[in-house]
Amino acid sequence: MNVLEINKLTKQFGDFIAVDNLSLSIQDGEIFGFLGANGAGKSTAINMITSLLPITRGQIEILGKNIVKHSKFAKANIGIVPQELAIYEDMTAYENVQFFAGLYGLRGSLLKSRAEEALAFVGLEDKHRSYSKNFSGGMKRRLNIACAIAHRPKLIIMDEPTVGIDPQSRSYILNSIKKLNEMGSTIIYTSHYMEEVEEICTRIAIIDHGKIIAQGTKQQLKAIITNQKNISIEVRSVEQLDVEKLRDIVGVNTVELADAVIRISSDAEINNLNKIIQQLMASGMEIRSVEADEPNLETVFLTLTGRSLRD
């Protein structure tokens, strides 16, 4: 069963269409990335999934149940880490987690143990009694995550959780997302940081002007642009080079020589850099530099929309 199934979802504010006929399904165990520039409609879509915004048209199903008809069920199975921090600054870390978990109906000793577990998970177990107003941006984010996961939801939605935080907290958060995923949660992750999405997501939807313009795995998305990668190898001299032998390596399509640079175009899916270098070394070449240039998600986005993600 799909954890999340969205069918022709549309959100209209007057004349303005923020989310336009969006359909997608997310299976159990995925880390699904929403990649798009600011204002592309990611947060609007998320706010509809979490029932914070009414739906103009279309349906959303969580674990096979419509979120409008079974709103209580849907809410109990979603944990959300919103874009804006949602914690009480004049409560301690522990009180915050307890409060939010309490909203989901956890009580008594279960509440205590889950709250402690969640705090330990985000690495704040030694800050139990500290007031969150004294926390750094990264710690506040982590506390926010703890609040969202204490009730062990099936689907965790993280809306730009790494905006404006220090690098350590960022890598901590990315690691904990992977860990949560391994523990059985399905995760929706939105970001306009291409590197993060590329690092952690199993499947990605590129969203622009409220529409999904492409979705699939990293490889599938990159394959939209090209199935070739370019390798440039600078050597001292190309005189003793046997071009035919290079061409015979699996995946290599074309080999061009320009001064002391060998330009190889090869299938992006095949990892043959080792073989190429071995071949060059075997023929006694002195390699000065190697550059491999593969398309990344930023290029994909740029090519499809004509704009960069940071615009």
Binding site: F16, I17, I213, A214, I224, I225, T303, L304, R307
Partner: protein, 368 residues
């Protein structure tokens, strides 16, 4: 609306007449005349043209006022409905209409006040409800009509598209057949004839001059070999050059556009445009056309560029201008049409108004 207003008036009139019967005052011929006059005026409203209706209503109001003073005070109870009709020609605000209906209260004798007020309120509420309701029906009907028009237009366009597809398929067939017969005539036909002549000659010489005959036969063999080779070549080249057709059509279209408008769009393409099928070309061209039309209509741009790019699994066709753009894109029939065309082949259309205006059509394709 009319029907229910008439019923309201009839009920009111019957009420007034019966009230007069019951009351002590005697019924004079003048009274009958007034009632008949009132009836006549109200019927005339529906017979005469629409533009004299305010006049008739005003006359009715005047009649009622006169008979109230000179004939019978109870007749004033007919006033609210006529007053409503008169006022609602000039004001759409229900509050104003209500207030004006209640205005005569100030002149009325005390004993009639309550009855008049009650009738005014009741009729007012009834007629207002009726007016909103019929207004709504009217707007729904208009909406329905508009949608029917849209539907009609879209169906037409669909038919046109289907026709075009059929036509272009036929065109391709013809073009291909033409080419093929030309090729056969030019190369294979000639070599076959040549070989035949050589063989005929060899047959004649076979007894007289065996050596010459063998030479001729060898010639025939060579010519036949060349013939076979050219058949192979023809078959190899037989794939129709769709890309040239598509690109050329696009160029012709852009030239036509430039002739009619002050801007000449810059057209560029990259990637292997062979891979774009005629059907996809059709969609691309329609969308480009629509986008260009929109640009000319709204953008006040001075430059337009059209770029077609064939990626690994996707065709991208972008029309962008340097005009005023739009911070908020409102989807009209044009954009919806582009989206529908693209959606028919699992594609999408991105409309962006943040830097100039750009319309990008993305169409996935299968690499065969």
């Amino acid at each position: 609306m009319e029907f229910w207003t008439i019923i309201n008036k009839i009920v009111l009139m019957l009420y007034v007449i019966s009230l007069t019967y019951v009351s002590a005052a005697e019924i004079t011929p003048w009274y009958t005349l007034s009632v008949l006059l009132y009836l006549c005026l109200n019927i005339a409203v529906y017979i005469l043209k629409a533009n004299v209706m305010p006049l008739i209503s005003a006359l009715t109001v005047a009649l009622i006022a006169t008979v109230f003073v000179y004939v019978h005070p109870l007749l004033i109870l007919l006033l609210p409905v006529s007053l409503y009709e008169l006022v609602s020609y000039y004001s759409k605000r229900s509050v104003i209409v209500f207030l004006l209906m209640l205005a005569p209260c100030t002149f009325l004798p005390h004993d009639l006040l309550i009855e008049y007020g009650f009738i005014a309120l009741l009729s007012g509420a009834y007629l207002t409800l009726l007016r909103t309701y019929s207004g709504r029906i009217k707007s729904y009907r208009e909406e329905l009509e508009r949608m029917r028009g849209d539907l009609h237009q879209l169906t037409n366009r669909l038919h046109e598209n289907n026709d075009y597809i059929r036509q272009s398929e036929y065109m391709f067939k013809l073009e291909e057949r033409n080419r093929l017969s030309q090729e056969i005539h030019d190369s294979i036909g000639h070599s076959m004839t040549g070989a035949l002549i050589q063989m005929e000659a060899a047959k004649r010489l076979i007894t007289a001059d065996a050596e010459k005959s063998a030479e001729l036969l060898q010639n025939a063999i060579h010519i036949s070999k060349d013939g076979i080779e050219s058949i192979r070549l023809v078959l190899k080249n037989m794939k129709p050059p769709t890309e040239q057709l598509g690109i050329n059509r696009m160029r012709i279209f852009i030239d036509e556009f430039a002739a009619k408008h002050p801007i000449k769009p810059a057209f560029t393409y990259e990637g292997n445009v062979d891979l774009i099928s005629p059907f996809h070309w059709r969609i691309i061209q329609e969308n480009v056309k629509e986008a260009l039309t929109n640009t000319m209509k709204y953008s006040s741009a001075t430059a337009i560029s059209i770029h077609i790019q064939v990626l690994n699994t996707l065709i991208k066709a972008q029309v962008s201008d340097n005009g005023s753009g739009a911070s908020k894109v409102v989807k009209g029939l044009g954009i919806i049409g582009m989206e529908e065309r693209a959606a028919a082949v699992n594609g999408t259309v991105i409309v962006d108004g943040s830097r100039g205006f750009s319309v990008t059509t993305l169409i996935p394709y299968q690499d065969q």
